[in-house]
């Protein structure tokens, strides 16, 4: 039996570090779309970190939170890309 909880937690920490690295692109831009795609990456990494924590702590409830967070993340990207174009005709 391999103890998998500690490595999963460490990898969740690694995902948080990569989200912080992506925050550099949110701050420096230069265009709006750079910021949106970087925020999207930060959100995806957060979802993965939450689900890795769910695996490490054996807490299935965390997966519900991760699902809702993924939905909100998708909605944010679609909404911003839609309303940044004049007639909203992106998709």
């Amino acid at each position: 039996m391999v103890d998998v909880a500690q490595p999963l937690l460490a990898l969740a920490g690694a995902f948080v570090v990569f989200a912080i690295v992506a925050m550099y692109r949110v701050v420096t831009g230069p265009t709006l779309h750079d910021r949106v795609i970087a925020v999207n990456v930060v959100g995806t990494n957060t979802v993965v970190a939450i689900s890795l924590a769910a695996g490490a702590f054996e807490e299935p409830v965390f997966l519900d939170i991760a699902l809702v967070y993924a939905l909100l993340n998708f909605l944010l990207s679609i909404a911003i890309s839609k309303f940044s174009v004049e007639h909203g005709g992106v998709l």
Binding site: V4, H33, N40, V48, A54, L63, K82
Partner: protein, 107 residues
């Protein structure tokens, strides 16, 4: 035993691809190349890590939830990147080329 090792390998590979996405997001020259790095590498990294969670977690409904999360990330992440790329193109942002004198940093 084997299941845990496979899950660990998947999670470590997922973290590697997330690192590739973060490096690409910081280093690449313009919006389109950054979207390319973020959408593909980050989606693969997320899929591998969530698959590892689906293998490791004990409850059956939790495995199902992890699989739904995996499917959902697989569908939405490239769609969002596509929408952002379309919006960038509609606003007239030119793709970076090699003979761009300023290296595309303000593209």
């Amino acid at each position: 035993m084997v299941l845990e090792l496979v899950a660990l390998a998947l999670a470590i590979g997922g973290a590697f691809f997330a690192m590739v996405a973060a490096v690409g997001l910081v280093r690449l020259p313009d919006v389109y190349t950054r979207i390319h790095a973020a959408s593909k590498s980050d989606t693969l990294g997320a899929l591998m890590s969530v698959a590892a969670v689906a293998l490791v977690i004990q409850t059956e409904t939790a495995t199902l939830k992890a699989l739904f999360l995996l499917l959902f990330l697989f569908l939405t992440n490239p769609t969002a990147a596509h929408a952002i790329a379309r919006a960038a193109q509609d606003q007239g942002i030119e793709p970076w080329t090699v003979d761009d004198p300023d290296g595309g940093e303000d593209a």
